[in-house]
Amino acid sequence: MFKAIFYKEWIKTRWYLLLAVATTLGFAGYSMLRISRVVDLKGAEHVWEVMLSRDVIFIDLLEYIPLLVGMLLAVVQFVPEMQRKCLKLTLHLPYSQLRMVGAMLLYGLLVLSFCFAANFFLMALYLHGVIAAELEQHILLTAVPWYLAGITAYLLVSWICLEPTWKRRIINLTMSVLLLRIFFLSVTPEAYNQFLPWLLIYTLLTASLSWLSVSRFKVGKQD
């Protein structure tokens, strides 16, 4: 069944995913080019110096990109389900409704993780040859909360999209903004290092919210 569910989700999202991977890799690549230009003009030592003394990480351009990518994936994946209540068709299939919703979210998490992993791979590949491992880790660890925010945004926007009433959607949206704010409280590099495992648990917990919306849909809540 997973294969069939993934097949449907793939049809919905394939063009968006291509765009998302290209865009995020484009931004990550551009950030690496910025480092490359500084290295070419002023030498690698200058990069190390500004990173250590002035908290510059060179990838600040990426801060909100994963957030946007995660939000749009949820929209692309779940708005077609809610158009003319297509979700009824999905939930009518002879398969556990909880597992169905879980499989749809799992698909989103897997493709989003693939897209974000490609970003990290590209950055790690370039940085490995230019700066010391500690500084490479410094840059990548600073980016981790931004990418976790992208995954959380995906799960929260899924929750909003699957909600059957507009009134509750607005409430969910407000709560989502507040929940996502947590990922952007500090601009200091590696500020979240001690907090990362909790942030990961926090992200995974938001996955359960979509089932609340589906449960409301199932009992016929409407505006």
Partner: protein
């Protein structure tokens, strides 16, 4: 309930109720839709739910398909309470959503491939037989099809699923007369040949007359009539009588929605003509000519539920 249990259920007897709803009550906010509604659909029958806008047809379909929890009462399909039904049992319920909704983002070929994975008894040829008649390419996206074509895709998918029960919400919505006729003929032939049970609603009463065995006519808040269509059409009569102009209508039990236009009084009733004549004489109605005529389903529906 597993599929074997379902087969046992289906083999218990030909008049086994496939759908059974008891004491349904539902409100939207404070507005009562209906109260204490009970009905059942025996195996192998095609039952049409008729009613004016707002009488609760779609509400009933939503309850039956498990997407609305009634304020009170319960519904059973294949003997299982709908809200807690075994997911496997849904493979034996074909659902057509109002407007022939299907996944717009898929093509004819993709949607067949997707659904086929969920149904072990999937009949691919039944779907493609219908698609070949449409003369559309397998790569045609559903969002770019006309409403009529989409209705055939939805019907083809239900035929391929080959369920025991079909629940169809307003199947004629948006269809031109040709596609409506095609849909009705295909469905009627399929249901009779395979002894399927069908529960449906439609705004087009003429289509229902060609298709259904039994009907439930709903009025605001209640069921007005539930009986086989042949019995209804044999028994209900339109009576017209000539009365003096300006005649004030008395209260008439057993007469549905009597209307007076100039000096012609029109009413519908299940009473035979001689009984009507006796009643009119008892009520001292000053009529001169009494006509009785059989009516089609649409006229019967309007006569029994009123024009307003």
């Amino acid at each position: 309930m597993k599929i074997d249990e379902l087969k046992d259920f289906m083999n218990k007897g030909t008049m086994e109720n496939i759908i059974e709803c008891k004491g349904l009550t539902h409100y939207y906010g404070k507005r009562l839709i209906y109260e204490d509604l009970s009905f059942s659909v025996p195996k192998g029958r095609i039952l049409g739910l008729l009613g004016k806008n707002g009488t609760g047809k779609t509400t009933t379909i939503n309850i039956l398909s498990g997407y609305l929890k009634p304020r009170a009462g319960e519904c059973f399909i294949f003997g299982q309470e709908i809200q807690h039904m075994d997911p496997a049992l849904r493979s034996n319920i074909g659902l057509l959503i109002e407007g022939h909704v299907q996944y717009q983002f898929m093509t004819i070929k993709e949607i067949e491939k997707f659904y086929a994975s969920f149904y072990p008894q999937w009949k691919k040829e039944a779907y493609y037989e219908l698609m070949n008649k449409l003369k559309v390419a397998p790569g045609q996206r559903i969002s770019r099809m006309s409403c009529g074509q989409r209705s055939q895709v939805a019907l083809g998918l239900i035929l391929a699923q080959n369920p025991e029960l079909l629940v169809l919400d307003d199947f004629s919505l948006g269809l031109d007369p040709g596609y409506r006729r095609l849909f009705v003929d295909y469905l009627r032939d399929y249901a009779l040949a395979e002894n399927k049970t069908v529960f449906l609603t439609s705004h087009i009463i003429q289509d229902m007359e060609r298709l259904i065995d039994d009907c439930i006519i709903m009025d605001y808040g209640k069921i007005l009539i539930q009986q086989p269509i042949n019995k209804l059409l044999n028994e209900v009569r339109k009576y017209t009588l000539t009365v003096p102009e300006g005649y004030a209508l008395p209260s008439m039990n057993d007469f549905y929605h009597p209307t007076l236009i100039r000096n012609t009084l029109e009413a519908f009733s299940f009473l035979p003509a001689d009984e009507v004549e006796t009643r009119l004489k008892t009520m001292e109605v000053p009529y001169s000519v009494l006509n009785s005529e059989k009516v089609n389903l649409e006229d019967a529906f309007i006569g029994l539920t009123g024009k307003y």
